[in-house]
Symmetry: C2
Subunit: 507 residues, 2 copies
């Protein structure tokens, strides 16, 4: 049954909901392009004009979602209570969710927030460049106040943070996450010393030689292609903070960070973003222009990028396949490196200031400290002005190190400047999900490592499409995870996986 058939046979209510959804989706997709452009090609001087344009588009979308027409549709859906098939159910569920979120926010607030976010992003960029927190503080403080206001508008039973986490990971709460995060923190601390000791014997100097930026970028593009990312429906650009955005499944855009003296950055940011990109490109055709044309949740999305970046691309088999290709790009620099050298180097555990360059093990500590800071900020236990100090203290507690600059400290991530509180925990959720998914994938494709070693990623790509990607936002994350793995949420697979990986560092 194709899209047209599904829609024809369905109710006039579905038609009306879809009609409105298409328009709202188009506006959001246009706004996303304005956002992508701001991060990649927009002239610096155009910040205010871009802010106005974004406010206007967001305002129009918000008005449509809170219009009388939308209210009538929402009421009808609630009366009708369901849908005759999973597509219809999914459309109604996501429409109601967006409608309910929108009506809770006053129009004035949306305008204020959209504008404040655009300014905060620019002052963050400047502050980061100048290594000066003062440049960012005022805008950040205002944005934080607005986020608390937003949580209050949405409402919550225990913790304002929950109202914001729910935007990224439906149904997830601080108190649900806390014990799992504590368990991971504990486990990380148990393994860390041993991992560091083994790692100290690993030579990874060759990763930090001079690697030409243009060649790195070409190489990054080839990896994305190899993974199955379709450039007919997408592109790859450079930006400070790598990200993926899409304006439909037919226009998916990845960016990478290329650093001349760190070969890991281009390789793994490309793989990471292509993992996201594959998800977006393989959502079912049926969901085009609807609210279902996106990932189930941020955590599930992150599981797809991390599965590729941290698990698949960091197997010994991947190194066996990939190193010879890499040597074609950089023959003299990598002449004496073996694939075991390469495998160990890219898996070396070492404390780093930057989250995006952290190894698999310590990565979670980066997330958990942000999770704690966010929670304290939103519960007003700490003040925005004290963030640099708090950050450095916490970093010292977890890593016994003090960040040497703000750029490598509390100003390293764009998330807070975007007002994305509640986003960070989805990274560690993504790790937990990815370990659960990897376990199941290995059961279903017993010779998966063999395929990786031959640079054959089509089986993996298809498995992910069949089991995860095609569904888009049709199912909520915990429902989807149960469908994929047959199990409930737990950190056991992750802990098992990470212990095994560390043990391989001494081969």
């Amino acid at each position: 049954m194709n899209t047209l058939e599904i829609r024809k046979q369905n109710s006039p209510l579905l038609q009306d909901v879809l009609k409105l959804m298409y328009i709202i989706r188009d506006i959001h997709n246009s706004a996303s392009l304005l956002g992508w452009d701001q991060e990649t090609y927009m002239p610096t001087g155009s910040v205010n004009a871009r802010a106005s344009q974004l406010v206007t588009l967001e305002t129009i979308a918000h008005r449509l979602l809170t219009s009388k027409k939308a209210r009538i549709l929402a009421e009808k859906i609630e009366q009708y209570n369901g849908g005759s098939n999973s597509f219809e159910k999914g459309i109604y569920r996501t429409f109601l969710k967006e409608y309910n979120l929108a009506v809770k926010l006053p129009q004035k607030f949306v305008e204020k927030f959209t504008k404040a976010r655009t300014y905060a992003i620019e002052s963050w960029k400047k502050a980061r460049q100048m290594n000066d927190y003062n440049i960012f503080e005022k805008d950040f403080d205002y944005l934080t106040k607005l986020k608390i206001e937003q949580a209050n508008y949405y409402g919550f039973s225990e913790n304002p943070y929950d109202a914001l986490i729910d935007l990224y990971e439906p149904g997830m709460t601080y108190s649900f996450l806390l014990p799992y995060f504590e368990e991971i923190k504990e486990e990380t601390r148990n393994i860390l010393d041993d991992a560091l000791r083994v790692s100290s014997l690993i030579n990874d100097k060759f990763l930090y030689d001079y690697y030409d930026n243009d060649i790195q970028f070409t190489m990054a593009r080839q990896i994305c292609e190899k993974m199955g990312f379709d450039f007919y429906y997408g592109r790859l650009d450079k930006s400070i903070h790598p990200f993926t955005t899409s304006f439909s499944r037919k226009d998916v855009r990845l960016t990478v960070r290329v650093i001349e003296r760190d070969l890991r950055s281009s390789i793994f940011s490309a793989i990471h973003e292509a993992g996201h990109g594959l998800y977006e490109q393989n959502i079912s055709h049926e969901y085009y222009r609807t609210f279902l044309e996106e990932g189930s949740s941020y955590g599930i999305h992150e599981s797809q990028s991390l599965l590729w970046e941290k698990i698949i691309a960091r197997t010994l088999e991947f190194s066996n396949w990939f190193l010879p290709i890499l040597k074609e790009y950089f023959p003299s620099l990598l002449k004496n490196v073996t694939s075991i050298d390469f495998f160990k180097a890219i898996n070396k555990i070492s404390k780093s200031f930057m989250r995006t360059e952290a190894d698999e093990l310590t990565y979670n500590l980066h997330i958990i400290m942000r999770f704690e800071i966010e929670n304290d900020l939103l519960n007003q236990k700490i003040r925005v002005r004290d963030i640099p100090e708090i950050w450095n203290q916490k970093f010292y507690d977890y890593f016994s190190l003090r960040p040497v600059s703000l750029r490598e400290g509390c100003l390293q991530d764009i998330h807070w400047a975007q007002g994305s509180f509640g986003y960070f925990p989805t990274y560690t959720l993504g790790k937990i999900y990815s370990a659960m998914i990897w376990k199941k994938l290995q059961e279903d494709i017993p010779d998966v490592l063999n395929n990786i070693e031959n640079g054959n990623f089509i089986l993996i790509k298809n498995w992910l499409r069949e089991n995860i990607h095609q569904y888009g936002k049709l199912y909520e994350p915990q429902v989807l995870m149960k469908m994929i793995t047959g199990k409930n949420f737990d950190v056991g697979d992750y802990n098992q996986y990470i212990r095994k990986k560390i043990s391989m560092l001494s081969i």
Copy 2:
């Protein structure tokens, strides 16, 4: 008196008009970014999705402009009849103009047209690439029918073409233009043989050597900077058909066409587009986000690009300044070229298939043949399917040459694919205006050639800002031209200018 003061002291009516105008302008500017992206960076596979997004944005803008609120404002403006200062007058005039154009077009037509245009652009691209008119014909035929429909909606007294020319050059008609165009055609034919004879002695082979694309692009950027184009509020990219677009005076984007074996293309497309760009960047701050934040007309806009590209950059003094700079980029290729060689080479008259690469003299023949074809198409004297044949026949009549491919024939320009009928005559209007403006500029700045020779363009830039750019769309083109030159429209200055230029080719 600054913007804020002007607006504060003004009527509530002005406030209401501005409020609506800002929103419409933001939507149009967002749509322009989607258009720019489509020409520069958008993945090929995203055509349909982009078409939907553009339809949605155009539809929303159109709805706002034809809303009850807009109607009430338009009625009030008509009662109020004017405004207390030139800003208010300009706002009311441009609002009424856009309102009247919008209410004449049914919503359904706007949707149909926007979609048809997006498809036609893509099929034109493909047809051009494959050199196959069939790929384009159907979309083009449909688009032409829609343009005739559009002219009928707008209404006209003599000729449907007039209704469309008016969109680009307010007040201009086919019958007004015809005698001037005939005069230019006649004059061109009088001079052409002599100009070709002198030109045959000019050696311009060095322009068609191998010039590295990346170096050409860097050089193009430097010229734009030298002319005073501000990259803090703009950028330069590559595209098939060079163009300028802006999303406010603070985000002005130029594109150039770089051709490895034609040095003229990068130099003169950059200068041409930077001429447009300077206009956009120097519109008064007061007009930000209003309908006044654009050029007076397409013809006036073109006069600014042509003044730089065809007049200033083709003086002997410009060659004296520019050639040494060019030699730094391409030392070995240009070693033996003198500035007189360079001056003659870039002014050489020769028949060319491509409008964008035509010399100053024959350029008008390219335009006039398009002007005649457009007029015949819209008056249904000829059929879309016969365009390739008609084009080739007409080209032969004017140039005694037959285009060797469609790419160098009727598929060379994007304009018809965009549905921009009535646009082409503004190029020759631009030439006529630019000669009138150049004459006045030389009277006001007697040592202008001396300044050019020293690479000092600031006096020119300031004169243009003071006399033309700052006013944006405040005045209609003929009113503005009278203000600038003190004279009525005439082709005398142009004919005088072109005869003098041709005479210089034998120095």
